[in-house]
């Protein structure tokens, strides 16, 4: 998603490069060449631009309009103003979906990042078989997004399956997690925490960037490992940490596949895994209420936007950029 088109970057770089020596000399052929290059650049970009307009911008505008209508896909949309939004706030299932999602984000994201950081710290030290360990820890996030893993998860945590039997063996007769409204959300949390590979790799890259001299100097001054971690490692990787927190939080808000598949499409039992997007999907595709679903989607966008803004605002207090200290 969202990688800037290379052609555009290259083009602007070239334009700057072209212009710099052009000062004072003959400007016309250069400008002509620049315009021609630009045209070619846009030509190469056109599939991306067309895709963006047709598949992203267009649907977004349409969805914004539908959010204020009653639209069942078949009859033409009926304008109802803020009707969908007021219905949303009065709907107990919508509130449930907000609660479930908030719980998932608040529990899952910090746990995932903690684990990612912990494992990254272990793997940052050079030892034998390091490449294997890195690959092994990263593997789950490669397969994790797929449907099959959610199915495997379901098989692991359902009644009389591996986890249940292990618990019974240990004397904890609580039954499978999948059918228990009190436990099933933690199944989802466990699944996302297990897929900590991507933030781990980013943490690893961040850890490699920390200058060795800082640790040596601190050691000379008598700082122990804990102190070195707290006062050198954490501040030095805080930009990377910020990036991970931001990305993982946004990502968590959009959880859908695992909740949908693990509950056989019901997002239950007892709405215990009714995450926001799942309810949105049910309203849109099962109840044919595209207007309501669109309104929900825009509420999600606003919520994620707000959370992102708060995170950006908070970074002044805890994220240290090297440029700022100079």
């Amino acid at each position: 998603m969202g990688t800037p088109p290379v052609t555009q970057l290259e083009e602007s770089v070239r334009q700057v490069a072209d212009k710099a020596p052009a000062a004072g000399t003959t400007p016309s052929p250069v400008r002509r060449r620049g315009r021609k290059d630009g045209l070619i650049g846009y030509l190469f970009m056109s599939p991306w631009i067309a895709g963006f307009l047709l598949l992203t911008a267009g649907p977004m505008v349409a969805s914004l309009y539908f959010a204020f209508t009653d639209y069942n896909l078949f009859d033409s949309p009926k304008w109802i103003g803020l009707g969908n939004f007021s219905e949303m706030f009065a709907d107990p299932r919508w509130r449930t979906s907000v609660e479930v999602t908030a719980k998932y984000v608040l529990i899952g994201t910090p746990l995932k990042l903690l684990l990612a950081l912990g494992v990254a710290l272990l793997l940052a030290q050079s030892r034998r078989g390091q490449a294997f360990y890195r690959a092994a820890f990263y593997a789950p996030s490669l397969v994790g997004a797929s449907v099959s893993v959610a199915i495997v998860w379901r098989a692991l945590f359902s009644d009389d399956a591996v986890v249940d039997r292990a618990q019974t063996f240990l004397g904890m007769d609580v039954g499978g997690w999948i059918g228990d409204p009190a436990w099933v959300l933690y199944c989802l949390v466990a699944l996302t925490v297990w897929q900590f590979g991507a933030p781990m790799v980013i943490f690893l890259a961040g850890l490699k960037q920390v200058p060795k001299e800082l640790y040596e100097a601190a050691q000379v001054d008598g700082a122990g490992p804990w102190r070195r971690f707290w006062h050198i490692t954490l501040p030095m990787i805080s930009p990377v940490m910020f990036f991970n927190v931001l990305l993982e939080t946004i990502h968590s808000f959009q959880i859908f596949g695992s909740a949908y598949i693990m509950s056989n499409g019901s997002c239950g039992p007892a709405d215990a895994t009714l995450v926001y997007t799942c309810y949105l999907y049910q309203q849109g595709f099962e109840n044919s209420r595209m207007g309501f679903a669109s309104a929900m989607a825009w509420m999600l966008l606003i919520a994620v936007g707000l959370v992102t803004a708060v995170l950006f605002w908070s970074q002044r207090r805890w994220v240290h950029y090297e440029e700022a200290s100079r």
Binding site: D70, N72, L73, F74, D75, P92, S158, D159, G175, G176, I178, G179, D180, P181, N264, G265, S266, G268, P269, A270, D271, F285, E286, N287, S288, R289
Partner: protein, 427 residues
Amino acid sequence: MRMSRHVERRTFLKAAGASLAGAGLTAAGCGAGSGSSGGPVTIRYAWWGADDRAKKINRTVALFEKKHPKIKVKTDFQQYGDFWKKFNTQAAGGNPPDVFQNAIGFLRKYDAKRVLLDLDAQAKKGNLDLGDFRAGLEKFGVVDGRLLGVPVGSNSMGLIIDERVFEKAGVTPAPGWTWDDWDDALVKIHDKAGVAGDSGPFGIMYLYDLILRQNGKAFFTEKGLGFTESDLVPYWTESMKRVRTGLYADQKKVEQIKPKSALAAGLAGGEFTWDNFTARYSAEGKSSYAIAPIPTADGKKTGQYLGSLMLSGSARTKHPAEVATFIDFMVHDPEVGRIMGYDRGVLSTNEQYEAFDPTDPVSKKIAAYEKQIAAAGTLETITPHPAGADVVEAAFLRIAADMALGKAPVEESARQFFTEAKTALGS
């Protein structure tokens, strides 16, 4: 090779539409798409079900293509829930399959959205024979005088029981038994066989409909709901009591083993469902299963009617004649009856019913059960459900399950159901 511009464009549009919907339809050769040209015509046939049904349906389609070489049939199937999500999206995009499996709960819904083909015109042209249907099925797909579906099989609600459990408890259900008898049976099964008597029927709309009908009401009227909160609250209150006392199965376990049925998993001695499910349960479970009659309030009236799966056509199809020919073949051809058996209920036409001679014990039980309820003379006619009924049914099932898992008390659950039903039926 001459190809008219008109055909070219249409083929292109068709292919584009199909690929957008993910169906991946390819134009079937030169000249496809125009019925009048006399060349081969391709129709799309979509249905829901599982693998064993897929095998049977593919055999019937192959047979059809052999006997009608100018019509090609492309099939497409999903599980029940996914089927309707895909169908809904395709229909909204103006690209529904030409022929598709349908059920009573969807007739008014899609009729109101002008998706269904009125097959009457084709019947009048002689492309579809409406004779020879079994008693009770002649007018099944008619809504407000329009023929919107043709039944392929009939089924009815029944109480499917684990024979070994009932034997152990010393309970023998007989036609005309009452709800009090059934209550006693639940206790006996719980005490003597050590298992819950039922998997918990409080979320099954079709059973509650029968209970309401026995009391002169119904789940649906033509426009909305035929009952009130004051009907539902006592029913659910009593049900919750039975969940707590173990007369109904542990709902957490029932939830865990889904999509397998609680009866087949041995969690309960009985389960109310469609009679043709006996076949599925026998394949799933380890015990032997039979169909017991629906308990009554007065020793006679069961409230039962024949339910059925149907074949419907799309109002947007470019080949209504071929669609009608296909449906005609599927409901009348004796060989199709022999292949399908009672997979979609007891075969709907006399030709097919007589052609299929059930040899396996399960099919025999289903046939005997339907014969018995027909002979009892208590069968009623079904009300075609109002638009939105499918959403109401799903809400009834979900809210009842949530309640049984302790999410909300009975009164609150009932209130929630009526709120959601109002939204679904109002749109």
